[in-house]
């Protein structure tokens, strides 16, 4: 039998699907801008627009050297050794964020559904699925996304309608608009909202080069970011109008809490599970993207096919998920205080901004070089 080659290709639609699920994945678990109370959606709207800008910046970098991913770009701009060194930092960053995202989900499951199950079991089983998918390759990953996107999308939309028809929504909760002025919103957007969930798209700098129609990838990504931004706004508005500002501040998993209000026909009630499902697939996508990005980095650094590293790295991540914080408060606080400032900002903005000029300079030189070669 002819061995089927495991291909590393994504269609544009698959890219859009992955981007979309990636964006709404974690957001569905922990929510965004809960501190901003009724103005959260404004902050999300603004940062969506900014996020589209960020993505186009990343795409612009990628277009300088088509077909090269983030790590290869860094080697181009920083040289072989420094490039690989910084690449390694990115690998750590990606794996760490993967662990954090996974931890979000593990906490959700162990608090809401399985109170007695060891958290390790959740992280290991999730990582097992992710490792299996990533081992089968990017193509399988993309297609899996395609299968689940209709469910994720419709369920997200349905949650809103169901809470509305359950009569649990009070649109007065959206008032007053911007009572405290724009100060808190801006503070919240930078750096927290901008880095999560939008700045995290830097991982897609590892995936976008594998898209078959690379030249259209930029447009598609920007549109997808805008669409997913709208869905996030939609979710945030549901949370605000259903829970009310007081509760929104107290709740740990806002969308889940909102879905608990659903009660239709006295039968369709207690549908938290639907939320867990959306969340579960979102989380799998998100962790997989980070995981894949990290593995690709390792592949670039070590020159060993990443498939060999799937299992060991998955083991490390599932273990690291447990180790990164002792309790939920620590986990959340790290996410608010430490991560945005000391991890997200440098890796998402400062480093790319640093190597952008270098990259431009190097690729320009290269292009000129090839031009002169051509003229000879």
């Amino acid at each position: 039998m002819k061995q089927q080659k495991l291909m590393e290709k994504l269609s544009l639609w698959q890219l859009a699907v992955l981007l979309f699920t990636f964006e709404i994945g974690s957001v569905a678990v922990v929510g965004v801008g809960n501190d901003l109370r009724q103005d959260a959606w404004i902050a999300v709207a603004i940062s969506t627009l900014l996020g589209a800008g960020i993505v186009s910046f990343y795409i612009m970098l990628l277009k300088r050297a088509p077909g090269k991913n983030l790590f290869e770009l860094m080697t181009i701009s920083f040289g072989k050794w420094l490039g690989k060194g910084i690449g390694l930092l990115y690998v750590f960053y990606f794996f760490y964020i993967a662990e954090r995202v996974l931890r979000d989900f593990c906490e959700l499951i162990t608090t809401v559904i399985f109170e007695n199950t060891p958290i390790e079991i959740i992280s290991i089983t999730m990582m097992g699925v992710i490792a299996y998918m990533i081992y089968l390759g990017l193509e399988v990953f993309g297609r899996t996304g395609e299968i689940f996107i209709p469910y994720v999308f419709t369920f997200t939309i349905l949650i809103g309608f169901a809470t509305f028809f359950s009569g649990e929504m009070d649109f007065k909760n959206l008032l007053p608009v911007m009572a405290e002025g724009s100060g808190p919103i801006i503070q919240h957007i930078f750096p927290r909202l901008l880095t999560f969930p939008f700045g995290e798209l830097i991982t897609f700098m590892v995936i976008i080069p594998y898209v078959t129609q690379f030249n259209k990838a930029g447009k598609v990504s920007v549109i997808t970011v805008l669409v997913s931004g709208m869905i996030i706004i939609y979710g945030t508005v549901i949370e605000i109008v259903t829970l009310g500002t007081e509760q929104l501040e107290r709740t740990v998993f806002p969308l889940l809490s909102a879905a608990r209000y659903i009660s239709l026909l006295e039968f369709i009630e207690r549908v938290d599970l639907v939320v867990v499902f959306i969340v579960m697939f979102g989380i799998i996508t998100k962790v997989s993207v980070f995981f894949f990005a990290g593995l690709k980095g390792l592949e670039h650094i070590t020159n060993i096919s990443y498939r060999y590293m799937v299992l060991p790295m998955a083991t490390i991540i599932s273990y690291g998920t447990i180790l990164i914080s002792d309790n939920f408060a620590e986990h959340i606080e790290e996410g608010i205080r430490f991560i945005p400032h000391y991890m997200h900002v440098p890796f998402q903005f400062i480093l790319p901004a640093l190597f952008a000029p270098l990259l431009f300079w190097r690729t320009k030189k290269q292009k000129r070089g090839s031009d002169t070669n051509g003229s000879k």
């Binding site: 039998m1 002819k2 089927q4 269609s11 639609w13 698959q14 499951i109 559904i113 399985f114 959740i122 089983t125 999730m126 699925v129 299996y132 998918m133 089968l136 399988v140 993309g142 297609r143 899996t144 395609e146 299968i147 689940f148 006295e266 039968f267 009630e269 207690r270 549908v271 938290d272 599970l273 867990v276 499902f277 579960m280 697939f281 799998i284």
Partner: protein, 528 residues
């Protein structure tokens, strides 16, 4: 010309100009040479067939030459043999001695289908295929006459894939009949059948059929290649071939479509697929096949499109029900009592009161019981089969509930699941759900709904990684193709379904070019 020559386009063999017969017997210890001497040939034949009771070699005289007619008595119609061959030389008065074999044929058997055999291999092959071979002393070639078949099963209604509206013919065990059933429906010179002989011991004829103007060359070559690679002893059913040509055997999902309906095979051929017909099997295969094929019945196309579209959705739903329902019960009743409405929970609890087993064991027991009953029902003589279902339904179900061994909710669930699993039009697909259901129950017993979701995600990952002859198994959904959606979950009316599925990369992707949406005549009149 022989019938097989008419039906098959003879494949030009890559290994030079050796005939298929030579290829077939190349590994066996049979001399190739055909002798001029009748005695020598007879002796070799007797040597080869000496233990076979149905082999006969009758001496006759053709004019002045010694000749003999050799045949397998069970492979041909003995009456027509006597009428058309054995009696002919005596009745025909011949004035002149025929010079060569061609003349003999011309004179004595002018109306019969024939073939010449110039090698001993061919002679043996023809005898095995039910020809009467006439060997004439002193001739370089033998004359093989096609006598006509023995009794075979008549074309009947399909027994496994019944429909209400549509053709009621089914394939039979005879490959020639099967091919003629297809040819009857597709009268197209570009419908081509190629033959292969597979099975070291059985030499079974396997034909691949395709419409050369539609089917993609790459797929065709892939099929040819895989079939040529098969080296097994026996091919008794198309299932044997199926196992040897799938892309991945470690999967519960069928990667090759099988059907006993000629109309269904025809529609697959016209989409650009390749049909595999195996002599002796009423099930014809179609490759490459995708997941959604198993949810489509040929009847879908014979009815107005609304109902079939609805039915298709029902089929997908029942696939999910058959897969998930028992595990959902386990998960909800043992893990997530809070997810059930209070009244429902109380009534389920009331029914489970006094049941001595955990829910998992309970459902495993019932599912296994059901599988046993189903197997028994299939294997039992038809007259007794009825009893099994009565015993199963009445005794096991009712009595178990009354004895308090299982809860009545569970019986409902098991029964409903079983019925739902029969909805797939293709039987081999329901096997997948039956197997996976047990694994899913295990997952649900350990992780509750989380386990169910986990398993479904693993299943989807597995499904998308599958390929059938290089075509992604979930094609037209993942990878998603908008233009193919006219015939996946819904069946759009025929005039809207103009394209062949793009995942098959057909040579001519468009079926009908014209806009054919029917409309009342006055609209057209108005335009004029």
């Amino acid at each position: 010309m022989g019938l097989s020559d008419f039906l098959f386009k003879r494949r030009k063999n890559k290994k030079g100009d050796s005939t298929p017969e030579e290829e077939i017997f190349q590994n066996e210890n049979i001399s190739k040479e055909y002798f001029k001497s009748l005695d020598k040939n007879k002796r070799s034949l007797h040597e080869l067939f000496k233990q076979t009771f149905d082999f006969s070699c009758d001496d006759i005289r053709l004019g002045e030459s010694e000749a003999c007619v050799c045949y397998l008595g069970t492979m041909l119609n003995i009456h027509s043999l006597t009428d058309k061959v054995l009696n002919v030389p005596r009745e025909t008065s011949v004035s002149k001695n025929p010079k060569n074999i061609e003349e003999i044929r011309d004179r004595y058997f002018p109306t019969m289908a024939f073939e010449y055999a110039d090698t001993f291999h061919k002679v043996v092959w023809h005898i095995l295929n039910g020809f009467a071979v006439i060997m004439v002393d002193g001739q370089e070639k033998a004359l093989s006459l096609e006598i006509g078949d023995t009794e075979k099963r008549a074309i009947t209604e399909p027994s496994t894939q019944t429909i209400i509206r549509g053709p009621k013919e089914a394939f039979t065990e005879d490959i020639n009949t099967n091919i003629s059933l297809i040819r009857k429906r597709i009268k197209n010179p570009y419908l081509i059948f190629e033959d292969f002989y597979i099975g070291g011991d059985t030499k079974t004829t396997v034909a691949i059929g395709y419409v050369s103007t539609i089917t993609n060359e790459d797929i065709l070559n892939e099929v040819r290649e895989r079939i040529e690679k098969i080296e097994i002893g026996a091919v008794l059913d198309s299932g044997n071939i199926e196992e040897m040509i799938v892309d991945k055997s470690f999967t519960p999902f069928p990667l090759v479509f099988n059907t006993e309906r000629p109309d269904s095979i025809c529609s697959h051929l016209l989409e650009g697929k390749v049909a595999l017909i195996v002599d002796g099997s009423p099930f014809v295969l179609a490759v490459p096949s995708v997941f959604t094929d198993f949810f489509q019945s040929s009847e879908d196309y014979y009815q107005p499109f609304l109902m079939p579209s609805f039915i298709r959705i029902i089929r997908y739903m029942s696939f999910m029900i058959a897969l998930v329902l028992p595990s959902l019960y386990v998960a909800l009743s043992t893990f997530h009592q809070e997810l059930m409405p209070t009244q429902l929970l109380i009534s389920i609890q009331a029914q489970r009161e006094g049941v001595p087993f955990p829910a998992v064991i309970e459902i495993f027991m019932m599912e296994l019981t059901f599988e046993i009953m189903r197997e028994a029902g299939v294997r039992m003589p038809r007259a007794v089969g009825q009893t099994v279902s009565i015993v199963g339904a009445l005794v096991i179900g009712q009595a178990a509930v009354e004895a308090g061994l299982v809860s009545s909710v569970l019986v409902i669930i098991v029964a409903f699941t079983a019925i739902a699993s029969f909805v797939s039009p293709i039987y081999s697909f329901s096997i997948a759900t039956r197997l996976l259901r047990f694994v899913l129950i295990l997952f649900a017993a350990v992780f509750g709904l989380y386990g169910v979701l986990l398993f479904l995600i693993i299943m989807v990952i597995h499904l998308v990684s599958l390929r059938s002859f290089g075509v992604p198994y979930l094609a037209s959904v993942a990878p998603f193709k908008l233009t193919d959606q006219d015939d996946v979950f819904l069946r759009l009316p025929a005039w809207a379904n103009k394209r062949r599925p793009s995942y098959l990369f057909p040579k001519s992707p468009v079926k009908e070019k014209k806009k054919q949406k029917p409309s009342p005549p006055h609209v057209q009149g108005g335009k004029k």
